[in-house]
């Protein structure tokens, strides 16, 4: 049956972002041993990323090296991905679960005449078609969708698949040359950018561990307890809206319905009550831990493990214990 699987790369400071590595892991996990896995990457310089694909065992990388991709919108990029997918003889394109990836899927679906889905946690071949599972309603339900037709574009959810082990191979890179996308797609300009405040750890949506703090911390000067716990775990810091609305932490750290949706391996909620608007942003985390002094707080209904107690005592002890076992 099947053609190649194309994995769409995304660069951050010249390197592939973690979600792309996961997409390569997904490609391996879902395709048979004979299925070619092909990489795609666009950017001002694609050499380093091409090598990274090689390190992950992807021998064939399609590249669009063009200075315009430093600041170009996704809209102009879709034509290049579609061309690469066609050149590679792909019937499936896997797109990383990032903001870039989310923006690409719908456009690519039309461009490449493929069925398109996002936020996917599981891909399978069943009865001659791709079938996907995805959480909906903020993780309160899941749906299975069947992708009819010869081609599919699948946007993955972060952390749905594990990165593959390194399996270095020699890489061959081939330039992609589609018909030039219409000029108006190149016109929007990124005029500035600044780093989103994310503390010193990994970014909230990339991180495999997230520690979030809520109003239970009482005052901004206590939030360092959360920062330190996160640092001991190499985790990203998040917050409830109570915290971001009060200005204790920037809104870029807000988890929930009107903030970011995260699905790390481990989510620690510290002094967060578990309002439904917060829950929908973190309920699909693999393991949830809550620390709260109120045993009836709704957060304990979604948590896997709970400590009922005063965070001002529990959190420092936990940070110390983690430091201890980590250095042991």
């Amino acid at each position: 049956m099947s053609g190649a699987v194309l994995v769409v790369g995304e660069l951050r400071e010249g390197r592939l972002v973690p979600s792309v590595t996961e997409a390569v892991g997904a490609a391996r996990a879902i395709s048979g041993p004979g299925t070619p896995i092909v990489g795609f990457v666009a950017g001002p310089s694609t050499d380093a990323a091409t090598k990274e694909f090689g390190r992950l065992g992807v021998p064939d990388v399609r590249t669009a090296s063009d200075p315009r991709f430093d600041r170009a919108p996704v809209s102009a990029l879709a034509a290049f991905v579609a061309q690469a997918a066609g050149d590679a003889g792909a019937d499936l394109v896997l797109v990383p679960g990032t903001t870039f990836g989310r923006d690409l899927v719908g456009r690519l679906g039309i461009r490449w005449n493929a069925a398109a889905v996002t936020g996917v946690t599981e891909v399978q071949r069943a009865d001659g078609a791709w079938q996907v599972r995805r959480p909906i309603f903020g993780g309160r339900a899941t749906e299975t969708r069947r992708l009819d037709g010869a081609r599919a574009v699948v946007g993955l959810r972060p952390h749905a698949y594990a990165p593959p082990p390194d399996a270095p191979v020699d890489v061959r890179s081939t330039a992609v040359a589609p018909r030039e996308p219409p000029a108006n797609l190149w016109v929007p300009k990124r005029v500035a950018e600044e780093p989103v405040a994310s503390g010193s750890g990994p970014s909230l949506t990339d991180a495999s561990i997230v520690v979030s703090g809520g109003r239970g911390l009482r005052a901004p000067e206590n939030f360092h307890l959360v920062d330190e716990l996160a640092a001991s775990l190499g985790a990203a810091v998040g917050a409830s809206r109570a915290v971001t609305d009060a200005g204790w932490r920037p809104s870029s750290l807000q988890v929930g319905q009107t903030g970011k949706a995260v699905s790390p391996q481990l989510y620690l909620a510290v002094g967060i009550s578990g309002a439904i608007q917060h829950i929908v942003g973190m309920v699909s985390s693999r393991v949830i831990v809550a620390i709260n002094s109120d045993a009836t707080a709704p957060i304990f209904k979604v948590a896997d493990y709970g400590v009922v107690g005063d965070l001002f005592q529990i959190v420092p002890a936990l940070t110390a214990e983690i430091r201890r076992v980590r250095s042991a």
Binding site: A115, G139, R146, R190, P195, D304, Q313
Partner: protein, 260 residues
């Protein structure tokens, strides 16, 4: 400025979810469909722009079955949208969002638009596919995850921010443009009672859904499932904070296997 805002009727957030008898989709029986989340922000954003750019008009467009699509459109009119277009989806209860974009594009081609606003994603299926597909179909750029969209009249460009994993980006682009909105610069307003009453009689332009393209690849829902109910947290028993910490770390390592 001609602004079109695309809105989807979505089950209200408190809805108790359960599968329809055929097991494919959410059971719509007894569910109230409303304007929610990002779509509410998109309407708010459209109205803010209208108020800041003299001579602007906002048209709300919705794809969906009766009566939920009309009701959602009336809610948008009550908030201040000038006109409304309903694409009658007929009976199809759970279309592919890309097909929805195809229907929207068909309608938008005959409506003036300098700006097409959508919510970043719908509150139910959370697909976030419409803005991108619509941009490609209309041949214009699109952006998701947009906050703080403004019109710079002196330079005739939209300016906006996007939050990515690590950056807050600032962009400029002339229209026409499709935007998947994350957040407007104000919280969504609520409608006043007289406006709600008046919206009940507002004219709604009805257009038929175009025949689906038989050759298009598409996805269709095959099962709708609820996760097994969470058992509730396993509580750590302890006498001292140190003991709580030690036991928690132990279960995270040995039982949950999430910790180093």
């Amino acid at each position: 400025m001609e602004i079109v805002v695309c809105i989807k009727p979505v089950p209200e957030p408190e809805t108790r979810l359960r599968a329809a008898p055929d097991g494919r989709i959410l059971d719509p029986e007894g569910v109230k469909y409303v304007l929610t989340g990002y779509d509410e922000s998109a309407v708010e954003q459209a109205l803010l722009l209208k108020e800041s750019v003299p001579g602007s008009k906002v048209r709300a467009v919705s794809f969906g079955p009766s009566p939920r699509a009309e009701e959602t459109l009336r809610a948008a009119v009550a908030l201040g949208c000038d006109s409304a277009t309903w694409i009658d989806s007929g009976a199809e209860p759970s279309p592919d969002p890309v097909d929805v974009a195809r229907a929207l594009a068909g309608t938008l081609r005959s409506l003036p638009h300098d700006l097409v606003l959508c919510g970043k994603q719908a509150g139910d299926d959370e697909a976030g596919l419409v803005a991108g597909a619509l941009g490609e179909l209309l041949g214009v750029p699109d952006f998701g995850y947009v906050v703080d969209l403004r019109w710079d009249a002196a330079r005739s460009v939209f300016t906006f921010h996007r939050m990515t994993e690590t950056l807050q980006e600032s962009w400029e682009a002339p229209g026409p443009l499709v935007i998947g909105l994350q957040q407007a610069w104000n919280d969504p307003r609520t409608a006043k009672l007289p406006a709600i009453l008046k919206s009940r009689k507002a004219p709604i332009d009805k257009v038929p859904v175009p025949a689906p393209d038989a050759h298009a690849s598409r996805s269709r829902a095959t099962t709708f499932a609820l996760p097994p109910p969470r058992a509730g947290a396993k509580l750590i028993e302890y006498k001292t904070p140190e003991e709580a910490a030690e036991r928690l770390v132990k279960v995270l390592r040995e039982e949950a296997k999430v910790f180093p």
